[in-house]
Amino acid sequence: MMRLALHGIGTALPDHTLADAGNSVDTSDLNTYFAARRLRRVDHFTRMTMLAGCRALHDTAGTVQEDLKTPLPLPEDMGIVISTGYGPSQTIFEFLDSIIDHGAGCASPLAFSHSVHNIPAATMSVFLNNPKPYTTICQLHGPLMAGLQTAGCWLAEGRVKKVLLGLVDEKTPLLETNTRRLLVRKGHTGEFVPVGEGACFFLLGPAEDTDGSAYGTLEFTTLSARELQKEELPEAVMTPAKSLDRLAKLNISAEATQQSDMPCAAGAELVAATMQKKQSCCIEQTGNNFGLISLTPQS
């Protein structure tokens, strides 16, 4: 069991309504943080990353971004951990487009360099002028738990004093098509949960450092299905939409606020859990096991 203080939250998500489920994220607000000229080569995935990350910094400090002159409240000695299911997919496809359309000899070197998985974290480090550790995790298997574990390790070992942890996924037309085709192939006949996208960031610190934390502490551990069934869960249990059926089979009542599906959906549900302002938890499926993240609000 690891325990961390949660100091701030920032999101870049579509509107939280059923009607807008699966819509794209509007990142135009990022233009109040950084000059349009500096952002001209920044792709959509990275824009979501930076917008949610910067919002988490302001949320931590209790400040707002009024215009380009507003200083970003960067905590001292802050590492960045980004967890994603697929990475900056659209940029990868843009690189493939450039090969298909113009031939390998004329393919876009810019699209290639921006398609590398760690470039969003690197871009944020450059824009924040934050020469500290960062890491990027890419997996469908428990991306939230993996990110929390790395954040917890860095803080426990004193590598950094704070960690800005982000969960980011991008929707692409190919991902939507493939998801639908794979579900049909598996015999899925019900309604499709639309593919979603977005970024959710959490400013984390050591558990003993809850001073000034608006959100209290979170504890996380990985449990088997049987162990999870034995847990005394709080009233508010959040989980990604795709995991609702699995939890129901374990007689666990949970809800999902995002009616769309993305590998990092547990990030959005963790945000929803924090909004309960009472004991709550978020459950992320990790292979055959489950990550349980319990929230205790600041008393």
Binding site: G103, A104, G105, A107, S115, V126, Y134, I137, Q139, L182
Partner: protein, 396 residues
């Protein structure tokens, strides 16, 4: 200071050899010639040979959906490491085992043929997508071997393998697991080849790290892992500690997405952190296995930092035997660092002949006997990421 973490096994495959011993022997006594791989695009501006693993060395495993090429390299290496450590299936029962693997192309959506057909309005066979979904490197290892500890695929470009080992050591120190399979894997990809070629950093000939006539890198492929273990597991299973992970440092430049900081600030910070966390000084490092890609930028900055922090420490670069194996590079080099510590021998820097005028950092150019207690392995990556690991010879 970081508590040392024991290493009880290792495995490696790359163009230099089909297992750890063969790779090390080739580096000490042999040679590897890069080749022009079939299926890659070549033209006047894209003519760089690659270090491919000969197909006959790969113990292919049949699976449905088919394994990706990265996993075809990684699984045999995990088998090798478990066998070398004497970790049979019965010994692994009831242990909490983590999996932390660095990768670049192995976690990328590089399926061009599928994408092109889809773009043309077709519904291509989903097999390649299913392979990708089942072959996330860390998750696939955990699933195949039934490991139940933390699972993490690190995608920090060329420092991924180094970072995976550093993170894995933290898991052991903090009691998150008893054993960790930690390393990196990447197969050659025509897409990455095109990308690196278009960035104009590939060499039309065999790469020449730190040489005055270096022209760039050659891509390669490979996989390598270390098995890290907690002290209680080492004792309970009577495992042999062949080396230890001491400190790990990582820092980004926050300067440029594809070029290192002109003064190597992030690399210096990563190396200093690794030393401080190891509780040793730079002068105690017996040798360095450097990143040494053979590109103008990398070798200049890395040489500058070595000269500043380690002015008299011998160093070698092994990419002249392996090519740049991207997400696997840090892991391959970590395993070769451990082999050098164990055997007291440093391989030559293949491809290096003559230093540039005024260059002060000069790598070893022939097989060198070395009596080192500590060694450093460092990696620089796209995105200005820099990471370093300190290893100690033998048991505590």
């Amino acid at each position: 200071m970081d508590r040392p973490v024991s290493i009880c096994g290792h495995g490696c495959i790359c163009a230099a050899g089909k297992d750890t011993r063969a790779c090390f022997e080739t580096m000490l006594h042999g040679d590897v010639q890069p080749v022009f791989a079939p299926g890659f695009s070549y033209d006047q501006t894209m003519q760089s040979p690659v270090f491919a693993v000969p197909q006959e060395w790969i113990k292919r495993q049949e699976q449905n959906p088919p394994l990706t090429e990265t996993m075809q390299l990684l699984f045999p290496v995990v088998d090798e490491a478990l066998a070398r450590a004497g970790l049979t299936a019965d010994k692994l029962d009831n242990l909490k085992i983590g999996t932390c693997i660095g990768s670049s192309t192995g976690a990328s959506l590089n399926f061009k043929s599928f994408y092109q057909k889809w773009r043309e309005g077709n519904e291509p066979d989903l097999e390649v997508i299913e392979s990708y979904l089942h072959c996330n490197p860390a998750a696939a290892v955990a699933e195949k071997y039934g490991f139940n500890g933390p699972v993490q695929t690190v995608t920090n470009a060329c420092s991924s393998g180094t970072d995976a080992i550093g993170i894995a050591a933290s898991w052991i120190r903090l009691g998150l697991c008893d054993l960790v399979i930690a390393g990196g894997a990447d197969a050659l990809s025509g897409i990455s080849y095109t990308g690196f070629s278009r960035l104009m950093i590939t060499s039309p000939q065999r790469c020449r790290p730190f040489d005055k006539d270096r022209q760039g890198l050659n891509l390669g492929e490979g996989a390598a892992v270390l098995i890290l273990a907690s002290e209680s597991t080492m004792q309970e299973l009577e495992l042999n500690s062949i080396a230890q992970v001491m400190g790990y440092g990582t820092s980004c430049d926050a300067h440029h997405l594809t070029a290192p900081h002109p003064e190597g600030s992030g690399l210096k910070q990563a190396v200093r952190d690794a030393l401080e966390r190891s509780g040793i000084s730079a002068s105690e490092i017996g040798f360095i296995n450097v990143h040494g890609t053979g590109t103008e930028n990398n070798d200049r900055i890395e040489g500058q930092v070595i000269n500043e922090l380690f002015p008299t420490t011998p160093f070698t670069g092994t990419k002249g035997f392996t090519g740049h194996t991207l997400g696997a590079a840090g892991a391959v080099e970590a395993v070769m660092t451990v082999m050098s510590l164990q055997n007291g021998l440093l391989p030559p820097t293949s491809g290096f002949h003559e230093a540039a005028e005024g260059a002060k950092a000069i790598p070893v150019s022939k097989k060198t006997a070395i009596d080192a207690k500590y060694a450093l392995s460092d990696s620089l990556a796209f995105g200005g990421n820099n990471s370093a690991l300190v290893f100690k010879k033998g048991a505590a």
